[in-house]
Structure formats: structure tokens, C-alpha cells
Symmetry: C2
């Protein structure tokens, strides 16, 4: 069995029992080097295959190889393995192989960040990655506009990298066509992990320099407000 | 401390360690009756306050009362407490009370269902509830259209109830304006719980009678396909 496992945002506290149990009981753990550290305490006799950034597809192929040898394999992804994770490529590569593959869900980063901020999601929500490695930037902006115009709460994954310093700013310009300057915005750094911190600001006042790849950025909708250092989106109840 | 806790889709295996630890160590657990059963094995000496459907706001107020008496309180929501859950109303009601409130994230139902189906999410995704108890149906349809036209994978929460037999069908009519009839659709019943099952069909062939409030419905995007009884959405890698 090859298990593709979402380990949540990083700390063991936001891992599921299912993920922990599975990782403890496999023969081989496969993952991106820095993420292996997140599950270090559950590693005893398991073999570990790790590699670096851009080694995703090598990891997928290696995991399938191990499974074909009859080994129990856990491939770990941070957050949820099915969103911007390894579940898709592995299932695609394993289509014609005679192995069992399962996917175990995890707490995706936007949900972890949202909990840290209070209750910014609450209602219909759109999750968008600003990385254009695998999607065109035009398509990304089209999705930002669609989500903005129909009042989705929006969570941005991969909001800003060294090579993409302006995308979030441009996304915010699109959102501002539909939402007020004082719309709440949350920037959460290292949610669920060491050195966790967050900041609450607005669409009009955000300092984009505070955003990098270790952050998730959430933008409220027309009913969101800031109270006592928290973002709250109204659920619609008559309170 | 009042903790608002997402317990995941139902079974203990998809709960986080953090949620379990917290529930074990509070004085009072507050929740919707049937959901209390999901955490029964972690209840020993904790007091339990439970009530029925439509008792949401009574539960919120009761939880705040307990916290004001100095008790440690856990309010449980299924899935993630911050999405269609209790986090918002409680934070709103507790604004002027002198109590500490925290939100602990959980695996939201769409992610649990997606893992069961394979890898349907993978890319930018929109989560939409078809319940119009707290949102107008016009607004819901506007969001369905926005998500459909910009190629978001779409997850439907509360897809069909006795009083809303036609909404999912009407949502599908909107989606069909933008996507092919053979777009993969997954119907997942009781994800993570007893009597779990799922079915994979398409936008054109779905039998709406198989959908009810115990199901989550996922609709793939333009790159999704069905393979070996799984839905896979392409991540964009050159495999």
C-alpha cells in the first residue's frame, strides 16, 4: 500500500490520528527534506527517502518503486496532500501499476491560518495559489476576479516569492474593484509551526513586504470585520 | 478558555491530536447531540451540554456562560469549525465578554471526501454551500457561476435536502454552460464515518436522487479525469 498523507501545516498537534498511525507503521517514508523533520518523532525503523525542492516527481516515482517492491510506503505532503500536493501526480503515475494507493486528508494551511485569525472563512470560500509554475498567471488573475466579484472569502497560497514580488499586489488591485479598502486581511506566518505569528490589516493598508512563501494571506468578504484582534466573517445568524 | 474545535468529518481517525487533547482536558463539552457521539470515547468526567438542530445559537450562548463561570469549555463542530461552523457566531457573541476564545482547525468535509475520491482538488478550488438558510439563493447561484467560468474545482456542502431538491440540478445547469458533460463528479457519503461509500459519475450522468445532506459533491475542472475508479485533476507537471 502506498499512502499519500497530508500532515497538516507542520506541528504534530495539527496532524490527524490516522496520519500519525500510518506513518508509524510503514516501511518507507518519502518526502521533501525539510518536511521529514515535521514527522521525525514518529520515525524509528522506517527507511527514509528525501530529496530537495523540484524533486517532486522523483519522489513520486521512487514511492511507486518502493510500493512495487511490496513495501508499505508513506509519502508526506504538508497541509492536505490533495490540494497543491502530491496526490494527483502519484495517482497519475501509478495508473498502470498494480499497486494500492490511498490518500489521507490533512488540515490545509488556509484552515490552520484561518483558525489562528479567528473566523474569517465561515462562508463560501475560494483557495487560490499565486504560484505560476504550473498555471498561467492570466488564469490565476481570472480566478481572483471571479472570486472577488462574487464575494468569496479568498485564501492565497504561495502569495509572494522572490521571483513573484508583484502578484499579490496585482491581485489586491483586482479585489479592490469589488471590495472596500477596509476589508480585513490576515497574514499568517508559520501557522501551526515554530515561530508562528500573524498580523491583521486591510485591503488598503497591507504592507506587501511582510508577505513571503512562509505566509498564507486571507482576504475577508463584504461581511467580514475586525474585532479584538480577530477577523470575523458573519455567518448570517440573527444574534 | 473557550475552545471552538473542528473535529473533522466524524470518525476519530481524522481528528487532530490537538482537538483530542483539548476535548479530553476541558470541564464542559458543548455540541449538537449527534456530534457528541463522535467524541464519546474521549468523555470521562466532562460535563456535556447538547441540544438539537436549530439550537446553534443557544449552544453558543451556553458555551460563553460556562466560560464566564471560569470553566474550560470545548465547543465541537464537525469538519472545520471555521467553515459553516460555530467559530464566527461565538466570536461575535463573545466580543464584549472578558473570556479567552481559541479556534482549532479540523479536516473540512470536502477535503475528507476529496481524499476518498483520489485527487480531485489539486488546484484552485471553491467551496460552496447550497443551503439558503443564511444566504440568498441568488447569491449562491452567482458564486456557482463565477467558480464555473474560471475553472475552479467545486465542492458542494449541503448539496440537497428535502426542502431543496432542485438546487444542485440548477447549479449543474450553470456549470454545464462552461464545462463538458463528461466532467468527473464525485458523490461521497459519510466520509470518514461508518457506512462510508462513494460514487463517481459525470456532470451529464449524475442521478440527483443519490445526493442528500449526508453527502458532499465534488465537480472536477477542465483537466480532471476518471481513472481506475478515482478522480484525478492534473496538477500541471510534465510526467
Amino acid at each position: 500500500m502506498l499512502s499519500i498523507i497530508g500532515i497538516g501545516p507542520g506541528g504534530k498537534m495539527r496532524m490527524t490520528l490516522e496520519a500519525i498511525e500510518r506513518i508509524k507503521n510503514v516501511d518507507v517514508i518519502v518526502g521533501y527534506g525539510p518536511y521529514i523533520d515535521y514527522v521525525r518523532e514518529f520515525i524509528e525503523n522506517q527507511e527514509v527517502f528525501q530529496n530537495g525542492m523540484k524533486g517532486e516527481i522523483e519522489r513520486c516515482k521512487k514511492a511507486i518503486e518502493f510500493a512495487k517492491e511490496g513495501k508499505e510506503v508513506a509519502v508526506i505532503s504538508t497541509g492536505d496532500a490533495g490540494l497543491y500536493g502530491m496526490a494527483g501526480p502519484i495517482l497519475e503515475l501509478a495508473q498502470d501499476e498494480n499497486i494500492d494507493v490511498e490518500v489521507l486528508p490533512g488540515v490545509s494551511s488556509a484552515f490552520s491560518a484561518a483558525a489562528d485569525l479567528g473566523a474569517p472563512l465561515m462562508m463560501d470560500t475560494a483557495l487560490i495559489s499565486l504560484s505560476d509554475l504550473l498555471v498561467s498567471y492570466e488564469k490565476i488573475k481570472e480566478r481572483v476576479r471571479a472570486a472577488a466579484m462574487s464575494d468569496f472569502v479568498i485564501s492565497f497560497y504561495n502569495p509572494r516569492s522572490k521571483g513573484r514580488t508583484e502578484y499579490l499586489k496585482e491581485a489586491f488591485e483586482i479585489i479592490k474593484e469589488y471590495r472596500k479598502e477596509n476589508t480585513p486581511v490576515g497574514i499568517v506566518r508559520n501557522s501551526g509551526r515554530e515561530n508562528f505569528s500573524y498580523e491583521i490589516t486591510t485591503l488598503g493598508e497591507i504592507d506587501f513586504k511582510k508577505v513571503d512563501m512562509k505566509t498564507i494571506v486571507l482576504v475577508g468578504n463584504s461581511t467580514s470585520f475586525i474585532s479584538n484582534g480577530r477577523i470575523i466573517t458573519k455567518r448570517g445568524y440573527d444574534l
